[in-house]
């Protein structure tokens, strides 16, 4: 009986220990691909690869691109401030320029005249766009002292080198060793120090174990593709955890490192993304590849969208009869008479004039512009106030003998026994008016004698307004009849 109990207890202990060991110390799964896999690009903008079109001569700074037959056939993926390289007659050598402006889909401007050595039809025009690749994944297997490999598509198109710093139409470029091996910046070759392997696994350095090799992978339909291989090493005795998410980055800020160069467009339809495959693979400490651990992902690149908006300066000018009707005392004038009700935007009808008296009417002027240098409004009369049948005129005012002139600051006009025609201005909200109300002056005759009446040398923040008040006097000897004259208000921006 005692032996039976002992055997039972022993049996229970064994079973319990087995269950605990299975639960808490599971046996590593030797072959299972990582989960939660993705490659996030810091920029998914395709690189620019066009060729020089016809009609560009040495010293031109307007560059025409060839409109067909190249990865890029317009300027749509080019941006002001982009650094571009234009091919020279020396193979592989580029001259660098900066994009100063985009003219249209076929034309852009560079910061300095193009060199003679660049001015041949079909010279390459490139602008590289590169990205930091951030891989995240959750391993489902581990090998002590093993390796994880990250494969990014390289070009296998004939004529395209995968590591010359020139964007390829079928994959990412590793960058060139110019200006020197180990250099940092745009277009330079990716180095092991530009890769940051997960710091929370393995033993030893977090830089890449290997950069610069390629692998050829055959897809299920028998086609082969070339990939850049970037590997991270767990170190001797090191291993990764299973079911724990890791992150690694390929590429550094260009101020202190290098990045893979994004492809130029493979898809001629702009706006359609180019999709590339990447892989994560797993090797053991003897570098044996475990195909069962390989996972595939996709990344998509597309042209950036250039949003441009040009605000053309506009100027708007208004004449209306607001505030100048019957009874108005605009410009500190005596109250406007009944004819004030007949004032329209285009006409001031004085009707029958009161002799030897001031006949006052007015208009309201409004101006607004978004031009940098503001605006100017001028006025001139297109001929004298003239009897429409006899040609007799009412002369331009001398302000009752006060000696006012067309361009002066005006004088007060208090004597009305002589015929005269003139005006004054009341500033309602104008940046600058030329003379203050209470003083009158005659209109300049003809466009050459136009006088400024409203002005702002900066962009006004709101519509600016002024009253213009007309005064017409007729002596008791002024010939009877209908008189007429035209005033031309000219509104322009300031150059």
């Amino acid at each position: 009986m005692i032996n039976s109990v002992k055997n039972l207890i022993f049996f229970v202990i064994i079973i319990t220990a087995t269950v605990i060991s299975i639960v808490y110390y599971p046996r590593p799964i030797k072959s299972a691909p990582p989960t939660s896999v993705k490659d996030t690009l810091s920029s998914s903008q395709l690189s620019y690869f066009a060729r020089l079109g016809t009609g560009v001569s040495a010293s031109d700074s307007l560059i025409r691109v060839a409109l067909s037959g190249n990865p890029t056939n317009d300027t749509n993926n080019l941006f002001v401030g982009d650094t571009i390289g234009i091919g020279t007659t020396v193979t592989g050598l580029l001259t660098l320029y900066t994009v100063k402006d985009i003219g249209n889909t076929a034309l852009f401007q560079i910061n300095s005249p193009i060199s003679q050595s660049n001015t041949f039809v079909n010279a390459a025009i490139i602008s590289t766009h590169s990205a930091v690749h951030t891989f995240s994944f959750t391993p489902q297997s581990n090998f002590t002292g093993g390796y994880w490999e990250f494969l990014i598509k390289a070009s296998n198109t004939a004529g395209e080198a995968i590591n010359d710093g020139i964007p390829d139409s079928n994959g990412f470029d590793l960058g060139a060793t110019t200006p020197s091996s180990g250099a940092n910046g745009v277009g330079t070759r990716l180095k092991v120090t530009d890769v940051t392997c997960p710091s929370n696994w393995g033993i030893g350095a977090t830089t890449a174990y290997n950069v610069g090799t390629t692998a050829v992978i055959t897809s299920g339909v028998g086609t082969t593709a070339t990939y850049h291989v970037i590997s991270c090493y767990l170190g001797i005795g090191g291993t990764n955890q299973i079911g724990v998410g890791y992150t690694m980055t390929i590429g550094k800020d260009l101020a202190s490192g290098s990045q893979l160069i994004n492809p130029s467009p493979a898809n001629t339809a702009e706006g359609s993304a180019d999709v590339y495959t990447f892989y994560i693979r797993h090797r053991d400490s003897s570098s044996a590849l475990f195909d069962g651990d390989t996972i595939q992902g996709k990344i998509a690149l597309v042209e950036a969208v250039r949003v441009t908006a040009t605000v053309d300066p506009t100027i708007t000018f208004t004449i209306d009869a607001t505030g100048v009707g019957t009874g108005s005392t605009a410009c500190n004038s005596p109250a406007f008479g009944l004819n004030g009700a007949n004032t329209t935007a285009t006409q001031v009808a004085f009707g029958t004039l009161i002799l030897d008296s001031a006949n006052d009417l007015g208009h309201r002027l409004s101006a607004i512009t978004n031009a940098d240098n503001g605006y100017i409004v001028t006025v001139y009369e297109d001929g004298k106030m003239e009897n429409i049948t006899s040609g007799t005129t009412i002369p331009d005012t001398t302000c009752g003998g006060g000696g006012c002139t067309t361009s002066g600051v005006g004088t007060s006009w208090t004597s009305f026994t002589a015929s005269g025609w003139g005006y004054t201005i009341q500033n309602l909200s104008v940046g600058t008016t030329i003379f203050s109300y209470g003083n009158y002056r005659p209109f300049g005759d003809g466009a050459a004698n136009a006088q400024q009446i409203m002005k702002n040398i900066t962009t006004p923040s709101a519509t600016e307004q002024a009253y213009v008040c007309y005064r017409l006097t007729a002596s008791s000897t002024q010939e009877a009849g209908n008189y007429e004259n035209r005033l031309i208000y000219t509104a322009t921006a300031t150059f």
Partner: protein
Amino acid sequence: MTNLSIQPSQLEIQLKPGTNYVQSYIIKNNGDVSVTLNTSVDTWLPQGLNGNIIYLNSPPNLNISLSNSDLKLGQNFILNPNQSKQLVLKIQGDTPGDYYFTFFVNQDVSSNPSTNSTQLIRLGSHLLISISDSELPTTNFKINNFKVQNPFIDCFFSSVKFSGEIQNNSNYFDKIDNTISISKNNTVINKLTIFPDNVLSHHSRTLRCLNDKSPAECQLSKPLWPGIYQASIDNTSTSFIVLPYSLLIFLLLLIIITKLLIDKKNNIL
């Protein structure tokens, strides 16, 4: 209400001899009545130093026409309330040089037989055109009369105001792209960006500075340390001295008052 607008209100163009340039304008009647309009062009010359102009009553020596199929320069057209019309101006010139003119949209009305005055709007859009074989014609700016406006500059209460003119001695207009550098003890302590005004060929423009995207008087704000300063634009420079005048005057007054009080006390004793 007559309310008209034109867009753009100004253009600055560089053309190669013999090339055509086409520009569209949008004319809009924002008013509540129909208006009859026509178009014209008129040359002008700059007048003075502040962007004023004088019209010459003559068309420019360029081939200018409207490309609208239904409209020619000078021909009347009607714009109804809230209606816009696109006018397409075509410009072609062969002779290198600068051309300054204004494209006008003129209001027109039939006469009204009564004693009255008819008021018409003329909206203008300036065109500054350089015709040159070179895309970036060489311009030659010279600084004239560059000086400090206020002779006595107090450390605490005076801003330093600069004045001057920029003269364009070349055959082509250009924008000012320069700064006023303020230095003390051969060290640049401040820079004032000059407003990028257009300076037309063989004309001058008053110096203005950029202040929050707007033109403003060129001035160095108070307070300033005492000392000798130098302001320079390229190779043109002017010097000015900053002193604590207000403090000196205050001390002087204090000394005088103290002395008067002491004298008064002595007299009493």
